[in-house]
Every structure is written in C-alpha cells, then in structure tokens.
C-alpha cells in the first residue's frame, strides 16, 4: 500500500499541475475557434467550430503589419547583436578582456529594468526625430539582446575549447583564424540557440515598442494590447490573434531545449 502510494502520489500532483498549466491555453484555442456569440456563452457551449476568427483578424486589424514589424525588428536586431556578442563573449572567455569589472557591467546591463532605459531613449529619439521609426525599435532592442547574448555565449567558449585552439595555433593558425575556423564552428549550435532566444526576447518585448512606436511600427504585443481596448470585449478574434502570436515561440521551443537551461540561468547551470 505504502509503496503504491509512493508511486502514484507524484503522478497525481504532476497531473493536476499539468492541467492547471494547460487549461488556459486549451481554453484560448477553443475560444479562437468558436463564433463570436458562442464565445460569450456561460455556461460554455461548444457550438460550431471554424477558422472565421483567424480570417477576421487579418481582414479587420492591421495584423499583417504587426506581425511583419515584430519579425523584421526581431530578425534585424538579433542579426546585429549575435556576431558582435559572439566576438565579445569570446574575448571574455579566452582572453579575459576587461576582467571582472567589465563582465559585471554586461550582467548589470542585462538586469536593468527597461523602464530606466526607455525614458532616455525616448528623449534621444525625439531629439533626432526617429520616434515612430523601426530603426529606433531595432536600436532599443539591441539594449536587451546584446547584453543577454554576450553573457550567455561566454560559457560556450570556456572549457575544452582552449585546447582545440592551441592545437590550431601550433599548426600555424592566426588568432583570427583560430576564432573563426575553430572556436565559432565548435560553438555554433550554442550560438544558434542563443540567437533563437535573442529573437524571442525581442519578439516578446513590450515596453520599448509601447513608448517608441507609432501607428505603422507597432509590433504584435503592442498591437494585441490595443486590440483589447479598441475591440472592447470581442474575445473571439482576440483569442485567435493570441494563438497566432504564440505560434513562432512554440515552433522554436524544440530547437532550444538543449540550451534552454543555460539561457535561463544566465550560464550558471548547464
């Protein structure tokens, strides 16, 4: 009896926990598939299921623009940050550039609340007339992705990497060659995973876009937030919009699993 309980109790707790996590997600998918009236019915009715809301959001809201803005801003800012961060992380890990103080500075940059940065950035962009442009959002997102990527990538260049490179140097490779032809290819899977995480960080970012964007440069999170106020209580299309904006993140998740822990723990855990 006792042994059976020992085996079953964890499964009961884990099942209940999993259901609590899943319930809101399942419910939102269901609402997105019902028609507008059924979505409000309490007690809930299944009604007829269909993809109307998904068509609706593209027809009635600038959903394509939001999606495209999110995508362009996340791709461009990650594409700029990733090579730069890779080079800096390498110099931290292998050459101890700047020592402990510089590393602390990079960590602190990552920990800064965006609200502290957004006021000055707003002031600067106002001054140079770049508010409401995508450039300002890309620059602002660099302040999030660059420190994150630099910090995360350091651990990929530590450990056995040094010996591989030394072998290459003995064979006559320059420092530059050792970095480009040995270190980067060996760390490539980690660099790629870090890049995907950087993409998601930018994809999810809200405050900078809220303050710095104009009508044409809004991204998905800000668009969704405005949808909620403009469309009042139209929960069916809102649910559909939510589902669509979750898709890229869920699609990337499987590719991240191996390096997720490193990313979340800021490299402290493997």
């Amino acid at each position: 009896m006792n042994r059976l309980a020992k085996k079953i109790v964890p499964h009961i707790i884990l099942t209940v926990f999993s259901l609590i996590i899943l319930m809101p997600l399942v419910w939102i998918v269901r609402v997105s598939l019902t028609d507008k009236l059924t979505a409000y019915k309490i007690p809930p009715e299944i009604g007829t299921l269909g993809l109307n809301n998904y068509v609706d959001i593209f027809e009635r809201f600038p959903f394509v623009t939001w999606f495209a803005n999110s995508f362009i801003i996340a791709i461009v800012s990650t594409a700029i940050a990733l090579p730069l961060a890779t080079a800096m992380a390498y110099s931290f890990a292998r050459l101890n550039t700047g020592g402990a103080l510089l590393r602390l500075g990079v960590l602190a940059s990552q920990m800064l609340p965006p609200i502290i940065l957004v006021l000055p950035l707003f002031g600067v962009f106002l001054f140079v007339g770049l508010t409401q442009s995508r450039v300002s959002l890309i620059v602002a997102h660099l302040s999030i992705s660059l420190p994150f990527l630099s910090w995360m990538l350091v651990s990929f260049f530590e450990g056995d990497m040094a010996r591989l490179e030394e072998a290459a140097r003995v064979d006559g490779a320059s420092r530059w060659q050792a970095f480009l032809l040995v270190a980067v290819p060996v760390a490539a899977p980690g660099i790629l995973a870090a890049g995907l995480l950087g993409f998601i960080l930018s994809w999810n970012e809200f405050l900078f876009v809220l303050v710095l964007s104009g009508p044409g440069t809004q991204t998905l999170p800000v668009g969704l937030a405005s949808l909620e106020t403009h469309a009042g209580v139209e929960i069916a299309p809102l649910a559909a919009a939510t589902v669509v904006s979750l898709l890229p993140v869920f699609a990337l998740l499987p590719f991240l699993r191996k390096h997720l822990i490193k990313g979340l723990s800021l490299g402290a855990l493997k």
């Binding site: 964890p10 499964h11 707790i13 884990l14 926990f17 999993s18 996590i21 899943l22 809101p24 609402v31 409000y40 309490i42 007690p43 961060a85 080079a87 800096m88 292998r94 050459l95 550039t97 700047g98 990079v106 960590l107 602190a108 920990m111 800064l112 609340p113 965006p114 609200i115 502290i116 940065l117 006021l119 000055p120 002031g123 600067v124 302040s143 660059l146 420190p147 630099s150 420092r175 530059w176 998601i200 999810n204 809200f206 809220l210 998905l220 999170p221 969704l224 937030a225 209580v233 649910a239 904006s245 990337l252 998740l253 997720l260 822990i261 979340l264 800021l266 402290a268 855990l269 493997k270």
Partner: protein, 294 residues
C-alpha cells in the same frame, strides 16, 4: 620570456579588438541612457518643457521619496517580489522533486510545463483577463458550479494584487522548475545510497543531503528570479494599469505613469535612479555568488 610578453600583449590587443564593437554599442544604448537618466534626475525636465535649463539638485529625489504613492509602490513591489519568489520556489521545488522521482510520462509533464516559459507576458495577461472576467470568464462560472461565490479578481483592491501574483506564478513557476530540476538531476547518487544503508529516512536525506547540495542552484535561481520580478511591468499594464486605485501600482508602472501621464520626466528619472540602485545591489551580489561557484 620576452616573446611570451609580446604574445600576451598581442592577446590583450586582440581581445579588446574583438569586444570593441559590442562595447561601443553598449555605451550608446545602455551607458549613455543611464547617464542621461541620472543627469535628468537632477533637472526640472518635463515633457511639456523638455530642457535642462533648471538645475534642481536633489529636489526630484526628495519629492519622490516624500511622495506617498512612490513609497507605496516600492513597498508593494517588495511585497510582490517576496510573494512570487517564495510561492514559485516552494511550488517549483515540489514539482521538481516529483519530476525527479518519476520515469513514466516525465517527457509529457516536462513538455507541458515548458509552455508558459517563453510566453509573452502581454499574452499571458490577455488570456488571464478573459479567463478571470467577472461575468463572462470561465473561472467564476466554475466557482459558482461548485457552490462558491464569484470573485471580483481584478476589480477589488484587496484581491487584485493577489490575482497578479497568481498569474505571475502560473507564468513563471516553470522557470524555477526547469532550473531546480537541472540541479536535482546533476546530483551525485552515492550520498543517497550511503544514507539508505545507514537507515536514513526520506525527509532526513532531503534535509541533510538534497538541500545542502542544492544550495548554490537554489540561490542563483532565487536571485535571478528576484531581479526579473522587480522589473515586472507588462502584466500590470495589461491586467490592471496599476489599479484599482493604486492597488497594483508596482514600481516600474509607477515610473511609467510619472513620466507619461504626469509628464514629469525629472522625477521619474529620480525614481529610476532609486530603482537602479536596488537592481545593481542585487546584481553585484548575484555576480559575486556566481563567481564564487567556479
């Protein structure tokens, strides 16, 4: 000797060369804005008169600290951070221990709990707002089905902060689970076997083996979560806008309001600087702790 010295110098040059582009960019997008904020915090700078004509010294700081609303938001943020970190840790540790003890279905449980992890707080907030709607939400409906009174989740001053805490737990508990589980699965097996041979009970091996060995992982996880909880903004914006009244007015949102509703950027910058102090303190502690581990 001489040659190794020139090698060292060349290495150092190469290192600076490699990090120079990033450093230049960080200077522009992090350091410069931080200094701008500090500079603004000692001037009378508003969005109506955005200039540095009037130097005010510590005036913005004094009026921020004397402002009951700001003090309230600092206290509320401390409470919020303590509550979410504590509950997420306790719940996360239980789930991580359970996950570590099962073999069957483990990938399924793990796959499910990964779902909220990288979700946008804006989306989390929107989903839960619909879910918790007082009359149209499914949660209140289910409560009445089982015989409870419906709850005014976000409209009541007492309840709102707890609702935010609850939603944050739903969103972030997976972070704790994933990291704590990583720590648990990296633990050596030998001490447990030795303890079993010596007749130790389950709770004894937990308190005398698991907990001490897990301490570094626990501290790093708690510190990181704590720093990120201090920054909570999106959830508040979407779910309550700091309300009802100031019941959920966390510090990031309070700064936002001061700058963009009251248009007083000078005072908002002073508030930012105070927040910056707290964050830096936590970060230095985290950094020193991480370094002491390696």
């Amino acid at each position: 000797m001489n040659q190794s010295k020139t090698m060292e110098a060349a290495d150092r040059r190469f290192g600076w060369f490699m990090s120079a582009p990033s450093l230049a960019l960080l200077l522009a997008v992090i350091l410069f804005p931080v200094f701008w904020a500090l500079f603004t915090s000692v001037h009378d700078y508003t969005l109506i008169a955005p200039n540095f004509d009037t130097f005010t010294g510590a005036e913005n700081y004094i009026s921020a600290i004397q402002d009951p609303a700001f003090r309230h938001s600092l206290g509320l943020t401390a409470f919020f951070v303590a509550a979410v970190v504590l509950f997420e840790f306790l719940l996360g540790f239980i789930v991580a221990l359970m996950l570590n003890s099962v073999e069957r279905f483990k990938p399924i449980y793990y796959g499910i709990l990964l779902c909220p992890l990288l979700m946008n707080p804006v989306i989390v907030g929107l989903i839960w707002r619909m879910f918790l709607h007082p009359s149209l939400g499914i949660v209140n409906y289910l409560l009445t089905v089982v015989g409870f009174e419906p709850v005014n989740w976000l409209g009541s001053t007492q309840m709102a902060i707890w609702t935010i805490i609850m939603v944050d737990i739903w969103h972030q508990v997976s972070f704790m689970i994933v990291l704590l589980l990583a720590g648990l699965s990296a633990m050596p097996k030998e001490p447990y076997e030795a303890a079993r041979v010596d007749g130790a009970r389950v709770y004894q091996s937990f308190f005398y083996i698991t907990l001490p060995l897990m301490m570094p992982v626990i501290i790093v996880t708690l510190l990181i979560r704590m720093i990120f909880a201090v920054k909570t903004y999106d959830l508040i914006y979407i779910m309550t806008r700091g309300g009802p009244g100031v019941a959920t007015d966390l510090v990031s949102y309070s700064i936002y309001r001061t700058a963009f509703v009251s248009l007083n950027v000078g005072e908002a910058s002073a508030m930012s600087a105070i927040l910056l102090g707290f964050i830096l303190l936590l970060t230095v502690y985290l950094y020193r702790y991480m370094r002491s581990l390696t």
